[in-house]
Amino acid sequence: MCGLAGVARRQPRGVATRMLRRMAEAIRHRGPDGSGVYADERVGLAHVRLSIIDLEGGAQPMANEEGSLRVVYNGEVFNFPTLREELESHGHRFRTRSDTEVLLHGYEEWGSGLPQRLNGQFAFAIYDRRTRSIFLARDRFGILPLFYALRDGDLYFASEIKALLASGEIAAALDPEGLDQVFTFWAALPPRTPFRGISTLEPGCCARWQGGRLAITRYYHVDFPEPAAEPSDALCRLDDLMRSAVGMRLLADVPVGGYLSGGLDSSAVCALASATSTEQLRTFSVAFDDPRFDESDHQRAAAGNAHSRHAVERISRSDIARVFPDVIRHAETPLLRTAPAPLYLLSRLTRRDGIKVVLTGEGADEVFLGYDLFKDTVVRLFCLRHPESRIRPRLFERLYPHEGAGARRGDFWAGYFLSSGSPGDPLFSHLPRFRPTCWIKDFYSPEFRHLLRDFDPLAELRAQLPANFAQWSPLGRAAYLELVTLLSPYLLASQGDRMAMAHGVETRVPFLDHRLFEFAAALPERSKLRGLREKDILRRWAPIALPRTVADRPKQAYRAPDVPPFVGPRPPEYAVELLQPASLRRTGIFDPQAVAGLLRRCQSGTATGTRESQALVGILSTQLWHHEFCERRSTAAPLPRASLRLTPKWEIA
């Protein structure tokens, strides 16, 4: 993977190479192995390279033979050897061994139909001099990032927002609605970002800029058709797809390693990778000083099974506190959890150990219905069909057997789920997550609340659901919502690409091979969630690759300590500074008196629930984000935005 950036002018007034170099330098961490720029009277392209395939021949920006097309590209197209053969059979002649060149010839051959032919993770921009147009595309699930902004018809695009800001022509300013989405879904939903006037290309979309206008097209639509029965050869097909998805993702001219969480998904991926690799696999894990979060024993077992050379990054609360500002700088968004921080440290370890490509188990919980949220949905529906039943709600206690006695049992516990929305609401599955998250909004200052007026992120999401959403089953709807609200904008972004690429490490995600996704989406739901057993078909397949103890291990959610890093006898100086009333008043988003109450409870040890831990991390990270991007960086004038209702207070001079 790499980093890309570019500018396209509506009028032929040129693009300064020093500006392009500034943009490239801002994302140098994504591509420490090389860089290049191209500029003419209308378009400038910049690229920083992480060399993985064709180490000598893949430099970018890359032009076709006539120089009429130029591409900057971030990602990997895993089926490029097949596509190359097909293109060669159509008369295309290749000069390099890289997958980048396949994009150029593929665009010549298929035009905007190119992205549908790619199996991989990618974001790219192709400049077509003949039509004075820019073609942008992003992979189906948003594994790789691509941001853009339009200003007076000029297009700016880049792998990270900091490259757009480095142009000096795009300003950093808060988008209140983007922030309000973070405090609803954990992330702003594409195309929105927390930055005013800066958008992200939605996963599965491509766009064409021409004559100052940007037209966006969706080229990939997810679907959840449900057959009556599991195909008799389902396990064989799953085995083929798993081996193919992992095998394709081992394609590289550098060693490929793996991240091991200790759970089923990453263990299966690493076991298959190890079986296919000719050299000993390198694996990497995070371990925690706090035993509530630690999975070391399971990680060691999985590493032993994969016969890998295993390295561990042990994380303490002070480690999280130390790197959290860097985490926000790379994530470019406020966060509600500290969970990305250990992965930031893990990619540093991985890179220091000489590995720049790792496979991960990300995506399996979405594809095979692994999360508790899917079980909650089934049990809530079951209970609500007979609301008078006293027996049915006891199922909630079975869902969370480790939560202990007291309020997480009985009436209150069941009531929490059963009062979280009606089955007729399209967001039914996710309301038990969205509603408590929204509680952070109670900390908004009256002025910020006024800026948002009647903005309702839940209503907006309901209005933007795809046409066939209502035809899907409740679990199909839940899976879709999980993809668009959490996987793409948070797990693959803030916790995935951005933390790995902070240290120039590329993550590859076999479970998000679209063939595997489509296979799983078209299985009957009981093949994935059988009773309360999650990822059923994957667990039935897993003994082929894994010991029973790993294959049958119940899912453990990945978490990191949230409150402890920032409170206690010696809190980090930046936290003390940014949570002071004067800092909060300067930013203007949160009510200082309310935050003081939260800090009092955190410091006294009574803020033990998710709501308050999310509030603390959310408020602190927003303050860090605002300080890093809106107060320090930009000198350009803010961008106009039709839907925005801002007072000058939020604009940066």
Binding site: F412, G415, S419, G609
Partner: protein, 103 residues
């Protein structure tokens, strides 16, 4: 022997309201928490908050609350808490006034 006088129901409600305001509504000082307003359904208290509430009631009013007593009927509003705690206190003081059995 000192007679144990149960607290009036209203005092239980007032002390609980102060505690809820201080610990769960510190960020929403404008929130009007009425005696019959649901605390769980309205999001004032979440499931972890219920644990805190139970601990507060046990500590402040000297009662023991069993798992099966942690119900919406007993705890979902300030008035429900007042009735429930008042009954528990009454039951306790009644038990303590009862003459000891002599073997």
């Amino acid at each position: 022997m000192n007679e144990i006088t149960p607290l009036p129901e209203m005092e239980i409600v007032d002390r609980t309201r102060s505690w809820v305001r201080e610990n769960f509504l510190y960020m929403r000082t404008d929130w009007k928490l009425g005696g019959d307003d649901p605390m769980l359904g309205s999001g004032v208290i979440d499931s972890v908050g219920v644990i805190e509430l139970v601990e507060f009631l046990q500590r402040t009013f000297g009662i023991d609350i069993a798992d099966e007593e942690i119900t919406e009927t007993n705890l979902d509003s300030l008035n429900a808490v007042g009735r429930f705690v008042h009954q528990k206190c009454n039951a306790r003081s009644g038990a303590e006034r009862r003459p000891r059995q002599v073997a």
